[in-house]
Symmetry: C3
Subunit: 338 residues, 3 copies
């Protein structure tokens, strides 16, 4: 019960912070970002039409649960998925777990009804995921439809938006897609772009590649995605591990992804959640460094003197933001870790 209250207060904090202004993150404009850091170390999919699994996911100490309308749902179950998700949004308590809805892609012909039905719930999902983004125009169409659906609705908070790279075209156009999305975000104020997911299996099919254990064939794609994401201050969610029973491999690949700069990983089985979340957690050294830096920065701000130095070196704002993120992540995940 105590834990529960703690979780809720953090949830409120998260919501509160998200209200604050998010300014342009490229083009030379000054950044006055104060986006909260929502941990998405493990991102787990649940078929939107499976009420039982949705219920179960709320008990997993999972960062990010994705109620899926897309590939996890058979074509003749799409309507059932939409209505089940709509009910779950209003009736389930996800606690600290982020509640995400993945709609179908812009070109599927299904996205319009996904948005129309799912956003009929009283509670907005924390985050919307848009798969198979290939071109800036896809974001145009998504935004247009979202605007129609939200017409006349007062948003307490704007949901986060997370897009997918799942094709060669999507990877090639990633920078342009992000630019377009942030332009529309500033113009329409309907969402806050917060991350990108690497849909590795569809990507492999698209380029005709074969997944191998060390994923050498995906190195360019993974590192380009991290680079583009971080250039726009976005999270980057790594691929699914192919061999579900290979727990050691999952840990190895998670740690490797974290070392490359990914902030989390897709997961399709509950048993992988703790392994993956541990791999993407900051180490004790990182937390100590961050705490010291943030305290020094706070003192410096009070004193109001010139440039900020830490251990004799000038510190720029991205480092301070990075330190704050680590602390927020560390605080946020504290109660959920053994």
């Amino acid at each position: 019960m105590l834990l529960w209250r703690y979780k809720n207060s953090l949830l409120c904090l998260r919501t509160f912070i998200r209200q604050t202004a998010v300014a342009g993150v490229y083009g030379g404009q000054t950044e006055s970002q104060s986006k909260p850091y929502t941990p998405r170390r493990a991102v787990m999919y649940v078929p939107g039409n499976d009420q039982k699994k949705i219920q179960k996911v709320t008990s997993l100490d999972l960062d990010c649960a994705v109620l899926d309308c897309e590939d996890g749902v058979a074509a003749n179950k799409k309507e059932e998925a939409r209505s089940t998700i709509r009910r779950a949004l209003d009736e389930c308590d996800f606690g600290l777990t982020e509640c995400v809805v993945r709609v179908n892609s812009v070109t599927s012909g299904l996205m319009e009804d996904d948005l129309g039905e799912v956003l009929g719930a009283k509670r907005m999902p924390d985050t919307l995921m848009l798969p198979k983004v290939e071109r800036p125009q896809d974001i145009d169409m998504f935004t247009k439809r979202l605007k129609e659906v939200l017409q006349g609705r007062q948003l307490e908070t704007r949901p986060f938006l997370i897009t997918y790279v799942e094709s060669a075209m999507g990877l090639m156009n990633l920078r342009d897609v992000f630019k377009k999305t942030i332009d529309l975000q500033l113009k329409e104020q309907l969402y806050v772009l917060d991350g990108v997911v690497f849909g590795s299996d569809d990507f492999c099919a698209d380029i005709g590649a074969t997944r191998t254990a060390d994923a050498k064939e995906l190195l360019y794609a993974r590192q380009k995605i991290v680079t583009c994401a971080k250039a726009f201050k976005l999270q980057a969610i790594d691929m699914v591990h192919i061999d579900l029973k290979d727990l050691e491999g999952i840990e190895r690949q998670s740690l490797e992804g974290a070392r490359m700069g990914f902030t989390g990983k897709q997961v399709i089985h509950p048993s992988h959640v703790p392994i993956v979340q541990r791999a993407f957690s900051p180490t004790q050294e990182q937390v100590a460094w961050a705490a010291e830096l943030v305290e020094a920065f706070s003192k410096h701000t009070e004193s109001g003197k010139g440039a900020f130095t830490f251990h004799g070196k000038m510190i720029d704002m991205p480092s301070v933001l990075q330190a704050k993120n680590i602390l927020q992540l560390s605080a946020n995940i504290g109660p959920t870790q053994g």
Copy 2:
């Protein structure tokens, strides 16, 4: 003899399919492509001035023979190469082997005469290869010259065009080069862009890199080329293996290239052809998957019901196209495999 007829009928099929419309493959336009799949698992060079080797190449069960005007021909043999290739086009029977001519680069000062002389043959080459493309303007100049040479000629089929990446500039500009080529393809209707070749040795010289056995120094270049090629639905032909006597290494590198998404590999010795072609052939599992998928899609199209699902998952058109490519490749290479 029976085999021969079979080969010829496939050849006609290939020609027939190529006539069909090829629409824009980027920029959000609907794709109505029905390009045939011409296998180019092994792409072997023959000096254009060596009549004997040209004759021999037709007996190799080789996918793609390149009659070379460029680096394989000494500067004082260029004219001899042009006239020899012109005669070969009209007199040699290449059977199922694709007959390609590689002209000299736009900036060599030789391309104009290459095109003028070689395209004086009654038979058009199946494909033209343009090496050392660096910028969109190179495609402009090539297209302008090709238009002059083909002025007044009624083309039964448009030849394929395949370009090369052989420098840092060419790699950096690859996306822009493809866009420009497809624009000019739609405007002038002189060729059908179908692939790109990685000229790894010139590339290494240009960036000052040294080839190593595992080719780590080329990973970025290779994977960027695959990504750009596949974004435009083009074939990607991998580098030559450096050690000609290392047959095991050739097989290993071929398999690696195939796993990365390359569709074929350059070859400079006949003994490598079967090794390379085997490595770039679809496996039995892939063929079985493709056959099942295409049959299911065909049934679905007859029934006319909603979205197409296969094993409970929605299937998009790229997957169907991919499956068809595998079957076409499998059928096409069937008679040539032991």
Copy 3:
């Protein structure tokens, strides 16, 4: 004494060559470059406020010494660094060692004073280094400030300019940054862009990556930097090795960097200089090839006959330039090697 004269004559040669015209290196324009090749195999930093270390660096047989105003200098020592560097420029004899000044970044608020004070010296630094470049606009601001500072001064030679990639944004925008820089170089005639440095540690912090021994997490960044640099005919300076005591590792990573196409490496301890410089030196085979090629080209130019061939193959100008660079590098480093 004799050696000293030799060094000075080379220095004059270097200065002389740099005067010659440098035309556009992209956009299809004819290149009429005759930039000299200034070796920067080892690039070593010295805190600008440390007069003793500056004095010592002139005795190291080092290619490139960087007198630092930036990260190597604490915030409250910036003014001391500027005045110390200014004096050193006029009073120290660097011999064959290139004398570089690294100013603070455009967004630091310190660059203006760095340039104002340091360029008050009678002797211009050979080269200016601009760290943390993220966008073309950064080059705009740098150039504007440099123009103000140099107003009314007659430059004997334009200094070289070397920029840094130290963030995801900087890597993503690298091509645009180079284009902008070369545009401004042609317009303002204030500097000659000559290279780029990979600031790997800041880059890792920015993308949230962790440095590992084999640097797999940096492969995309390193190879993209080499590609962009070489596309614009620039030098590419590789990352610092993380473990200062691991001399074997430094050699291994230097050799790997050289094989990837890097032309040099950052160094932070004098004991690493000879190891790194050896790794980035041309081999005897390369020197022999280059000498033979340049001689053949010279004979060919005298004879005035058609295309230039070497061992039966047509040779283009980049190869000749590459060979000349090797010879120049070899000659330049000759006296400094054991």
